[in-house]
Every structure is written in structure tokens, then in C-alpha cells.
């Protein structure tokens, strides 16, 4: 097979690998943004982890009631 045809396979391989790497990076970054935003949403409502957080959440709920 001629070199010109080989070039197509090489470009396709690098394109596919670039696509896989880009997809992985995008997945990790978007997921981080999503989870951070969800945590911030809970924090803004005063819901935080740990015993102190649970006590605060219960106090908040009893105030509402």
C-alpha cells in the first residue's frame, strides 16, 4: 500500500486517541464541576456533613416546623 494511504490510518489513529483523551478530560472536569456545585448548594442551605452539621440541620428543620 502507498505511503499516502498509510498517512490516512496514522491521522485516524491520532484523531481517535485525541478524541478518547479529550473525552476523558472533559468527563473528569464536568463531573468535578457538577459535584462541587451540588455540595455548594447543600452548604448554602446550611446542610453540612458531620455531627455538628446534622445538629444544625435538625435545628433548622425544627425552626421551620
Amino acid at each position: 500500500m502507498e505511503d499516502g494511504n498509510h498517512l490516512l490510518f496514522i491521522v485516524a489513529a491520532y484523531g481517535a486517541a485525541g478524541g478518547v483523551v479529550a473525552a476523558l478530560i472533559a468527563w473528569v472536569m464536568l463531573d468535578y464541576r457538577t459535584q462541587s456545585a451540588k455540595l455548594a448548594q447543600f452548604e448554602s442551605k446550611g446542610i453540612v456533613r458531620g455531627i455538628a452539621g446534622q445538629a444544625a440541620a435538625i435545628r433548622e428543620a425544627s425552626k421551620d416546623a
Partner: protein, 242 residues
């Protein structure tokens, strides 16, 4: 700091937050150097320019197997030691390992067409790597199906340890069976059979991909810890509201 200190997810997050940007920068630098070396590498006397596909295919194969190896150690961590980060590691590694295995299969096919005259052949090496990819999909499916993370972790751990049998099959398939795929040329007894002008860029690219893998794994583990915190808070909110 002892390695066991990393078992604390909060401490892990603190370390990951400071390490990930540096690892990311190092990865970019390693890829810039690796790709420049790959471009400058001479054509192979048999493969011609298609040898440049090997700079992607070999790292893909290595990382596909490494990820399953990490998942297998994590599976032991889940089943035997109940290590807090073990199933976080296993869950984070699965999609990354699947992606690199996919990259290995696709780049291998694109190399096979001009060199072998076919994109695919059911020989032992190719088939066992395809099995690894399907195992990854199975593990990801279990993670997504079972909602309770600790229950999912145990099921995945068993599947992972069973699937680990595929790793030596992949490695030694070219020795045990008569395959179209070439035998080991880098990781073998004695010196590698590849000329240094091609071996050096190959090793640099493998190093760059490995750095990328470590960066992505740490970032995905961080995401998984955050996801579990969100889940805990959601349950807490539901129990307080109820």
C-alpha cells in the same frame, strides 16, 4: 506521612487538590516532548510510517491492563481490608481503563488494516483484549445499576478478581497460541527487540500517557468522594425532612 494516612478521604482530597494541577502540567510537558519525539522518529524498515501508531497503541494496551491491575488490588482492599478508598479507586479507574483499552483496540485496528490487510482477526491477543474491554463495560454497568455504593463495591470486587484472570492471558497469549499479533518486544526476557530510535519515543509516550492516567485517576477519585458526600447530604436532608 504513611501510606495508610491516605485512607482518610478528607486527607486524600487535600493532597489530590494540591497534586492534580502539578501532575496536569507535567503531563502536558511530557506529551509535548513525546509527540515531538514521535514526529521525529524514523520510519520502521517493515512497518514504514505506521510505526507511529504504536506510540498510541502500546500505551493504550499498557494502561488498559494497569487499570484492571489497580482495580484488582482495590478489590482485595474492598473485600479483605475494607479500605475506605478501595472502592473509590476501583470505581474511578474503570471508565479510564475502558477508554484506554478502547484506544488500544481502535489504534490496533487502524494499524492492522495497512499491515495485515484486515482491521480485525480473532486471534488470542486481540480477542483477550476485547474480552477485557467487555469486562470493563460489565463493571461500569454494575456500578451504575446498584445504587448502594458498598453493595456495588462488593459485587464489582468479585467480578474484578474473576476478570483478573484475563491479564496473564493477554500477556502470554502470543506465547501460548500461534497468533497473527507479534510477540513481546518491550517487556520480555532479555533486551527489547526494538531499535532505540523507535523505543525511546515509545517509552516517552508511554510515560506521558501514564502521567495522564495518574492525573485522571486522582481527579476521578476526588469526584467520586465528592459524589458520596453529596449522597450522604441528600440522605441526611431526606431523614431530617422526614
Amino acid at each position: 506521612m504513611a501510606i495508610v494516612d491516605l485512607a482518610n478521604p478528607s486527607r486524600f482530597l487535600k493532597i489530590a487538590n494540591s497534586v492534580i494541577p502539578w501532575l496536569g502540567g507535567l503531563t502536558v510537558f511530557a506529551f509535548a516532548f513525546g509527540i515531538s519525539q514521535a514526529i521525529l522518529a524514523p520510519d520502521d524498515y517493515q512497518q514504514g510510517a505506521t510505526v507511529k501508531i504504536m506510540f498510541l497503541h502500546v500505551p493504550g494496551a499498557w494502561l488498559g491492563m494497569l487499570a484492571w491491575g489497580i482495580m484488582s488490588i482495590s478489590a482485595l482492599g474492598t473485600l479483605v481490608w475494607r479500605h475506605p478508598l478501595a472502592d473509590v479507586t476501583a470505581k474511578a479507574a474503570a471508565p479510564i481503563g475502558a477508554a484506554f483499552t478502547f484506544m488500544c483496540l481502535v489504534t490496533g485496528s487502524l494499524w492492522g488494516r495497512p499491515m495485515w490487510g484486515t482491521y480485525w482477526v480473532w486471534d488470542a491477543r486481540l480477542t483477550s483484549v476485547l474480552v477485557l474491554f467487555l469486562l470493563y463495560l460489565g463493571v461500569i454497568a454494575v456500578w451504575r445499576t446498584v445504587e448502594e455504593p458498598s453493595r456495588a463495591a462488593r459485587a464489582v470486587a468479585i467480578l474484578t478478581l474473576v476478570g483478573a484472570v484475563d491479564l496473564p492471558i493477554i500477556k502470554f497469549s502470543v506465547d501460548w497460541w500461534n497468533t497473527l499479533h507479534q510477540g513481546a518486544s518491550v517487556f520480555r526476557r532479555g533486551a527489547p527487540t526494538i531499535d532505540p530510535s523507535i523505543l525511546v519515543p515509545l517509552l516517552i509516550m508511554t510515560g506521558a500517557f501514564t502521567l495522564l492516567f495518574i492525573t485522571l485517576l486522582l481527579a476521578a477519585m476526588r469526584n467520586e468522594i465528592l459524589r458520596r458526600r453529596v449522597r450522604t447530604l441528600r440522605l441526611m436532608q431526606a431523614s431530617v425532612a422526614g
